[in-house]
Structures are given as structure tokens and as C-alpha cells.
């Protein structure tokens, strides 16, 4: 077992984990943060996407011990403490950007990181930016619209 310490959603976490424990399993099972979903466990679908030191990472492909000392943000840590939605979540709700919701946390986290890097993307850039996450329900229609809306809302806020 390996001792580790990291920051998860702003709180310091200390734990003892097996070296083979993935970061996704650590967050779900040890931290109780079940908003991070596992849909392929081989790094293709993006459902388990989280932020590690601000960058979007597939938590099924990273070991918990590799995140030692990192600042981790999951879907649970993205929205304001008062339970309201952030700009990206608000846009997904407004644009019918989700149906079953299973892929949604990964999309919301990925889009948050994407818009941080590229605050005013073109449509082609949006589609390219989303192409690393799989959704089986929406046909991506509402998701593309949500990214456009979130980018506009961010621009309006700045």
C-alpha cells in the first residue's frame, strides 16, 4: 500500500492505496465522488474526465499514486457551493445537451477545460474539441449548442 496526499475539490485528502488503484476508482470508492463515471476503462470515451492541475485527464488511465500532490477537480467540484449551475452546466441544461446523463460529467469537465484554453472557439474547433468524448443519446446536437452558448456567456461576463 502507498500513502498519498492530494487536493480533491479544494479539500486535502490523505489515503493509503494499492499501487494498481486507478485515480477513477480512488475518487469513486475512496472519496465517494461517484459523479466520475466509467464507460470504457480504456481511455476512449471520456466519461471519466477530471481536471488534474487544471488539465483534462482521463482518470481511468491514471493511477491514484500518480496524482500524489496534485490538485484534482471532479464534476462535484465544478459548481458553486450553493448548488447552482456553472456557466457550462447552465448551457447544457438550456440546450438539452444531455439525456441519460452518464457521459455528461465527462463532457462538462472536458468543455470547461476546452473553453479555458480556447474561450472563443469556431464551430469546427468546438466539434474537434468534443470529439474525444462519446455520447450515445444526444447525437451531440445539444452539446455543440451548449458549448457555443457557454462561450458566449463567458464572453459576456468578461
Amino acid at each position: 500500500m502507498h500513502e498519498l496526499e492530494m487536493t480533491v475539490n479544494g479539500e486535502s485528502v490523505r489515503a493509503s492505496v494499492e499501487p494498481r488503484t486507478t485515480l477513477a476508482d480512488f475518487l469513486r470508492d475512496d472519496c465517494g465522488l461517484t459523479g466520475t463515471h466509467l464507460a470504457c476503462e480504456h481511455g476512449v470515451c471520456g466519461a471519466c474526465t477530471i481536471l488534474v492541475d487544471g488539465a483534462a485527464v482521463r482518470s481511468c488511465l491514471m493511477l491514484a499514486v500518480q496524482a500524489r500532490g496534485a490538485d484534482v477537480t471532479t464534476i462535484e467540484g465544478l459548481s458553486p457551493a450553493d448548488g447552482s449551475l456553472n456557466v457550462v452546466q447552465e448551457a447544457f441544461a438550456a440546450c438539452h445537451g444531455l439525456q441519460c446523463g452518464f457521459c455528461t460529467p465527462g463532457f462538462v469537465v472536458s468543455v470547461t477545460a476546452f473553453l479555458d484554453q480556447n474561450p472563443s472557439p469556431t464551430d469546427d474547433e468546438i466539434v474537434e474539441g468534443l470529439s474525444g468524448n462519446l455520447c450515445r443519446c444526444t447525437g451531440y446536437q445539444g452539446i455543440v449548442k451548449a458549448v457555443r452558448q457557454a462561450a458566449q456567456a463567458n464572453a459576456g461576463n468578461n
Binding site: 494499492e18 494498481r20 469513486r28 465522488l33 461517484t34 459523479g35 466520475t36 463515471h37 466509467l38 464507460a39 470504457c40 476503462e41 480504456h42 476512449v44 470515451c45 466519461a47 471532479t74 464534476i75 462535484e76 465544478l78 459548481s79 448548488g83 449551475l85 452546466q89 447544457f92 441544461a93 438550456a94 438539452h96 444531455l98 439525456q99 441519460c100 446523463g101 452518464f102 457521459c103 455528461t104 460529467p105 462538462v108 468546438i126 466539434v127 474537434e128 468534443l130 470529439s131 474525444g132 468524448n133 462519446l134 455520447c135 450515445r136 443519446c137 444526444t138 447525437g139 451531440y140 446536437q141 445539444g142 452539446i143 455543440v144
Partner: protein, 785 residues
């Protein structure tokens, strides 16, 4: 541009009392799902839960000659290693879903016993203190299988008895069959008409692929005799019935709970074999056992669909008017199907939106040594896949435009009710209107000019049409759904449904219906489903039935409750019931808003002061309704898309995609369009990307998302919508819209690709239409120098 959701939000003159029905209301589900607070089956935590892991066959067919679990049983953290010898004898009843119990020809066995019949066939279950420990121990199981030749090709399986999938149990590989052969008149039409087209269409094997794989947490508690099951399903009540039937635990002691479900698309409609094994194992062990399927298992062992062959014969006169048709259909049932062949539905509805006076069919379903078939969104869609491609082929044969050929044969509104040659009566449909609307939206004639100009530059553009009628399953248990509505003592409204929403947004559309028809604020309505201890019996969510059939029940229950509340309010206000209106939970005398009582006061009277109720009124304020919807129920649509085929790379790019849909009165247009969009993109996946591939020995080759290609955002255009609203005869006039997108899209894309390729004399007839196949078709067509 397409008529938009905003335009429709103002519509729905068909529901005069409506304020929310017909409008885009934000989903009640979304806040929890967007913040990571959904509760899917793997999020359920029960102390002491063990993890189960399946050990599966790695060969398609063979005898199990050695099975040694000794080392695995001794491995760290292992609680049990179970095989057929431990589990199968505990089976107390049929594994088939309750509505399908009359389907007798189904081989049912929990774990492989003595032999294996497909790669993925479960042989053993390891139960351990963690998933990792269970997987570690599974490595220690020694299995010796003496392989024998497998039958992987369903056409070969049907044609020969050399290799029997269920050897010793069945004397052929034919699971089911049905035929109505041509009479003399049709035989003559099919042989001697001016134009006769006979073509064979084949679909590839592709899967439902919900983003959340299957999963179940089952806990039989011996002291109490209670069986709890948490599961990712579309049909919690049938999971309860099957759990009772296979374990012998009385149904009264079984409680099934589904929380949020990450997609199903039919795969989770009926309780499949692996989940039933876990339930049997939990019953045996008396401890909570959880199994969460991984993606590899979901692809190789959950369920397949679409692998079918359909030979179509169409006969037309000189002008291209259809005179008769026949189909010969065969599908692949896999090794252990627990549901019926889609062939019967496909055969019954083949003639679809066209005037075809004479028709005959044959259909059969064959077992193979492959993953079992289960329903997948529009399970019978081979009829549209084959018919719409055949219409384009006939148009090319005759030398008319495919749009013109459809115009000559499409059923007009004035001909309704139109009795199809199979005897079914088409009512309340608008195939002609959707065809014209879609053609206008895409700018059909302008595209033909653009296509010609592009060809002059050496570029290949194409346009494809797909027109279909989508029947909603409304027979037997599928024809009625329950809705239980209770106004609580504080005026809030609880709605209990037996459904199993898994992305359809039923919490939202239900609340819209209740808010409008009861007269309450939508935020006061809470919708509960998925817990069999709380909700009335229903088969569940599937078959595009929630809109028309569940919607009718919700509406009816809300209206009945409204009537009760009005009667009580009338007594309290000393007014005639006819003069009472309820708006936003306040009942007042029409024209005198100061004379009013709140729904809370009404509820208070109903529960706490029944002696003050008007004569004949029963205490309490709740209603449960089941409204049988047995009239024919059809939605219909036309899809038209345009593509560019790259003649150098074989890549197909979809340029535009238009859907004109008629699903009757729309409850929430955003959800309607969302259902269509999701289906269309699944259909695009089927046309261009998705295939579950076996080699000749039955080894699966596409068991990751690197090999099994799902559409991404980069593969699809923004879909444009048009709507026609032809009300159904059912209460509320709603029709189903869950499956149509996946039915219409594959032939629309295929027709567009072949329209582009026809300009250079090429045609692709294998699916998916991947770049190598497109290039091969182009090469084949290239004249030899």
C-alpha cells in the same frame, strides 16, 4: 431553415387547456445529472457488498473437458467460485421476459454446462471482496475446452444442419419462422410487370452500446427472506417478476430499484442472462453481490442486433406505380436470444408509406455461435432499410428521380384509413406531407443542380431519402401504462410511474402533463419511478410507448384528480363545479378570483375533514389510472440527407441532414427533437462506422472502442427539423418518437452515398460503408484501361 422548436412552442392548438404541453420546458432531471449527483447502479453502496466477475468462453463452440477452480477458490479475498454445477440447478422457472413466456423455443441456461456456444458464454462466476481480487482469482481458473467448428454465418446456419448451435437439444438452427407465400395473382405480377426489381440487402451486426454498461446489485437476505435488486434496466417491474420466477422467492418479497440509467436502447428492456446469473448467485450466497459489466463484456456478451438479410422484389408498371412486392427475410438470433425475432414486425409493416396492393413475405431467424440478439431501437427497421434502398434502385432502373418515384406511390391523406395488404389499417399519418416538407427544407431541386455542377468539377455529391411509418407496440401488456397521482396534504403532487426512463426525460414531460391537466405549478410536481415497492406495475419504458400510452394515463389521472379537487372546492366555495377553475394550485370561482381556496386547503379537507366533503366524494386526493390505447398508433417521418464522397479516400461526409417528423401532439419539442437526433446519429453510426466483427472461427475482433467505432461530434452535421402534427385518436393525441431516428437514418445515408456513386456507375452494398468499401466499389466500377 427548418421550423424550429421556438416556433412550435407557440403551437399546440390541439391541447386548448395547455400551457406547458407543447413548449420547451427545462428538464427536471438535469440539475442532478449535471453536477455529478445522479445515482446509477454502480453508485449504490451497500455495506458488505461482494464483487462478481464472469469467466467467459474464449472459443465459439466446444466441449468443456476440464474445469478446475481449486486455486481460484483459495485466492485472497475470494468468497466463492461458482459454475453450472452450483448455479443451474437453482433455476426455478423460465428466464424469458414475462410477456414472452409463450415463446417456447428458447434455450435457457444460466451458466455454460458441458459445452460453450459463443465467445463470451459465461462459464464461472468469481465472487470476492473486491473486483480486483475477483479478477485476480479468475486468472487461476483452469478451463480446458475441446473446440469444434462453429457456425458464425447466419445464412449458413439457416441453410444447413451440419453444425447445430444447440446440438442434442434442437434438430436445426431455425429459432422461428413465418411465411405468407404469394398467391397466383401476385406471382404473376412479380414475374410479368413492366419493371421488376429483385435485390438483396444485408445489414451488419451492430450493437445498442449504452454508455453505461449493464450492472446489478442483488441482495437476498435469508433471515427476512427479502430480495433487494438494484439494477440498470428499462423494466424494473419485470426484473421483479423474473427474479421471483427464477429463484422461487415470492414476488411479494422482491423489491427492485432502478435509479438513473445510462442509456438502454432496448438492450436493457428484458432481463438478460448474465444479470439473472448474478441474481441466482446472490440468492445462493445470501450476501449482497454486485456485478458491473466492463466495456469489453458489453460488446462481446451483452447483445447484438441488426444482422439481417432481406431480399426484396418490387413490381411496377410503366409509370413506376407499384403493383406488388414480396420479401424474404432472415436474421441472426445469436446463441441465446431471450426475445422474439424482429422479423414478424418487419414483415407486417414492410409496405409502409406506399400504396402496394399485393404483398407476400417469409421470415426466419437462425441461431449462430455468436452473442445473443436483443431488441435495439426500432428492432424491425430492416423493413425500412431494405424498402427504401429498393425504391432508389427501382428509380434508377426506371430512370426517374427517387423523389418522383416516391411521389407516385406515397399514400395521401385522402386515402386514409389505408388498409395495408397485411390487413393493418393506417390512420392519422402524413407520409406525403413529411416527404414534401423534407424535400423543401433540403432544397431538393437546387441540390440536384449543385450535384451536377460538382460532378463537372470531379466531385461526388449525393442525396438520399428515407420515408417510413413507425408502428408503436400497443398490444397486450404494452397497451396500457399506469399513472398514480397523489396530492399530498401540503398541496404538493407526487406522481408514481411504473416506467423506467433512461434518458427520455419522463420526469419532465410527466410534470408538464400533470401541471397542465391538474392545474398546478410544475415545480410542485415530483415524479417517482423505478422502485417496485412504490410504483404501480407496468412493463416499463420501450417501444416508443411512453408518449402515447403512459402520456394518456398521466393525462387521464390528472384530469380525474382535477375533477375531484373541483368538486371539493365547489363545496367549500358554495359554487357550481362548472364555475370552478384551478390555476397554479388555486381553485377559484371563474370571474370572481377573490372567492378561492388553495389546493392545500382542498387537500386538507380531503384528508383531515372528510365529513365536510360534498356528498359522494371519497376522502383523500389521489388517483391511479390505466388507459388502454388499442387503436392503431403510428408516427411517421421522412429523412433526407446530402453527402460528399471523396473518390480518392473513400470517406463519406454528411453535408446536411433533414428530418420531417409527425409524432402527433408534442409534449416537449426539445425532447422530441433530442430523441430524433440521438436515433439519427445511431443510424449514421450503423451506416458508416459501427460493426461488431467475428472471424470465421467465431472470435470477436472489435471488443474495444478503438475497434468498434461510435460516431463522435466530428462525424455528424447539425440536424435540421420539420414537424407535422397529425393527432392520434388516443387521449392527448400523442405518438411515439423514441425509435424513428434510428429507423430512418441508415437507408437515408446509404441512398445518398449510392446516389453519389451512381454517377460513376458504382454502388456499395456492404455496411458500414467504410472508406475501404467505398474505394473498392469505385475501383470495381472504373472501366479497365
Amino acid at each position: 431553415m427548418a421550423s424550429s422548436v421556438e416556433h412550435l412552442a407557440a403551437a399546440s392548438a390541439l391541447a386548448p387547456s395547455a400551457r406547458l404541453v407543447g413548449t420547451v420546458v427545462r428538464r427536471k432531471e438535469d440539475p442532478r445529472l449535471l453536477t455529478g449527483r445522479g445515482r446509477y447502479v454502480d453508485d449504490v453502496r451497500v455495506p458488505g457488498t461482494l464483487s462478481a466477475h464472469f469467466v467467459r468462453s474464449e472459443v465459439a463452440r466446444g466441449r468443456i473437458v476440464g474445469l478446475d477452480t481449486t486455486a481460484a477458490k483459495a485466492a485472497p479475498g475470494v468468497v466463492a467460485v461458482l459454475t453450472a454445477a452450483d448455479v443451474n440447478g437453482r433455476l426455478r422457472g423460465r428466464m424469458a421476459a414475462t410477456p414472452l413466456l409463450d415463446m417456447v423455443n428458447v434455450p435457457e441456461r444460466p451458466l455454460a454446462d458441458g459445452d460453450v456456444r459463443f465467445v463470451g458464454d459465461p462459464i464461472a462466476v468469481v465472487v470476492a471482496e473486491s473486483r480486483a481480487l475477483a479478477e485476480d482469482a479468475a486468472e487461476l481458473i483452469e478451463i480446458d475446452i475441446d473446440p469444434s467448428p462453429a457456425v458464425v454465418d447466419f445464412e449458413r446456419a439457416a441453410a444447413s444442419t451440419d453444425i447445430l448451435v444447440h446440438e442434442g437439444e434442437r434438430d436445426s438452427n431455425i429459432f422461428s419462422s413465418l411465411a405468407v407465400p404469394p398467391d397466383d395473382e401476385l406471382a404473376s405480377i412479380l414475374s410479368s410487370s413492366a419493371h421488376v426489381l429483385a435485390e438483396t440487402y444485408r445489414q451488419q451486426r451492430y450493437h445498442a452500446v449504452p454508455m453505461e454498461p449493464r450492472g446489478v446489485l442483488a441482495w437476498f437476505d435469508p433471515p427476512s427472506g427479502e430480495f433487494r435488486v438494484w439494477i440498470s434496466t428499462q423494466s424494473p417491474h419485470d426484473v421483479r417478476s423474473v427474479t421471483s420466477r427464477i429463484t422461487g422467492v415470492p414476488e411479494t418479497h422482491v423489491r427492485v430499484t432502478m435509479g438513473d440509467v445510462g442509456g438502454g436502447f432496448g438492450q436493457k428492456a428484458y432481463l438478460l442472462r448474465d444479470e439473472q446469473v448474478i441474481i441466482l448467485v446472490a440468492h445462493l450466497l445470501g450476501r449482497p453481490v454486485k456485478w458491473i459489466e466492463d466495456r469489453r463484456e458489453n460488446l462481446l456478451a451483452a447483445s447484438s442486433a441488426r444482422i439481417e438479410r432481406c431480399t426484396v422484389t418490387l413490381a411496377a408498371d410503366d409509370d413506376g406505380r407499384l403493383l406488388g412486392a414480396s420479401i424474404d427475410h432472415l436474421d441472426d438470433a445469436g446463441a441465446y436470444p431471450l426475445s422474439a425475432s424482429p422479423g414478424t414486425m418487419a414483415a407486417l409493416y414492410f409496405t409502409g408509406p406506399y400504396r402496394i396492393p399485393k404483398y407476400a413475405f417469409s421470415t426466419a431467424s437462425a441461431w449462430t455461435n455468436t452473442v445473443p440478439r436483443a431488441p435495439y431501437r426500432g428492432p424491425w427497421q430492416i423493413e425500412t432499410f431494405a424498402r427504401e434502398q429498393a425504391m432508389d434502385a427501382l428509380a434508377r432502373r426506371i430512370g426517374v428521380d427517387p423523389l418522383e418515384l416516391r411521389r407516385r406511390n406515397v399514400i395521401d391523406r385522402g386515402e386514409l384509413p389505408y388498409v395495408m395488404p397485411t390487413g393493418m389499417s393506417l390512420v392519422h399519418v402524413s407520409p406525403s406531407e413529411t416527404l414534401e416538407q423534407a424535400a423543401e427544407l433540403i432544397g431538393y431541386d437546387a441540390f440536384r443542380a449543385e450535384q451536377a455542377a460538382a460532378l463537372a468539377e470531379g466531385r461526388l455529391l449525393g442525396i438520399g431519402i428515407s420515408l417510413y411509418i413507425e408502428p408503436q407496440a400497443n398490444f397486450g401488456v404494452y397497451s396500457a401504462e399506469p399513472a398514480h397521482i397523489r396530492v399530498q396534504t401540503n398541496g404538493c403532487v407526487d406522481v408514481y410511474l411504473g416506467s423506467g426512463s433512461h434518458g427520455q426525460g419522463l420526469e419532465t414531460t410527466t410534470a408538464q402533463l400533470v401541471a397542465d391537466h391538474l392545474g398546478v405549478a410544475i415545480d410542485d410536481v415530483a415524479v417517482h419511478q423505478g422502485d417496485t415497492a412504490q410504483t404501480p406495475y407496468a412493463f416499463g419504458t420501450g417501444g416508443s410507448r411512453s408518449g402515447p400510452i403512459l402520456g394518456a394515463a398521466i393525462r387521464h389521472a390528472a384530469l380525474e384528480l382535477h375533477e375531484k379537487a373541483v368538486a371539493i372546492a365547489a363545496g367549500m366555495l358554495e359554487a357550481a363545479p362548472a364555475d370552478i377553475e384551478i390555476i397554479d394550485s388555486v381553485a377559484s370561482v371563474r370571474g370572481t378570483p377573490s372567492r378561492s381556496v388553495t389546493l392545500t386547503q382542498i387537500a386538507h379537507t380531503a384528508y383531515f375533514a372528510p365529513e365536510q366533503l360534498p356528498p359522494g366524494a371519497e376522502p383523500g386526493l389521489e388517483v391511479i389510472s390505466r388507459v388502454p390505447v388499442t387503436d392503431p398508433l403510428y408516427s411517421n417521418a421522412c429523412h433526407i440527407c446530402t453527402v460528399e464522397v471523396d473518390r480518392h479516400t473513400g470517406e463519406v461526409r454528411i453535408l446536411r441532414y433533414v428530418v420531417s417528423e409527425d409524432c402527433g401532439v408534442m409534449i416537449n419539442p426539445a425532447i422530441v427533437e433530442g430523441q430524433i437526433d440521438g436515433g439519427v446519429v445511431q443510424g449514421i453510426g450503423g451506416a458508416l462506422l459501427e460493426e461488431f466483427v467475428y472471424d470465421e472461427a467465431g472470435n470477436p475482433l472489435t471488443t474495444t472502442f478503438l475497434d468498434y467505432l461510435l460516431p463522435t461530434a466530428a462525424d455528424v452535421p447539425m440536424i435540421e427539423h420539420g414537424h407535422i402534427e397529425t393527432p392520434a385518436s388516443s387521449p392527448g393525441h400523442y405518438k411515439g418518437v423514441g425509435e424513428g431516428g434510428a429507423i430512418g437514418a441508415p437507408p437515408a445515408v446509404a441512398n445518398a452515398v449510392n446516389d453519389a456513386l451512381a454517377q460513376i456507375g458504382a454502388r456499395v452494398d456492404r455496411f458500414p460503408m467504410s472508406p475501404p468499401r467505398v474505394l473498392e466499389a469505385i475501383d470495381r466500377a472504373r472501366p479497365t484501361q
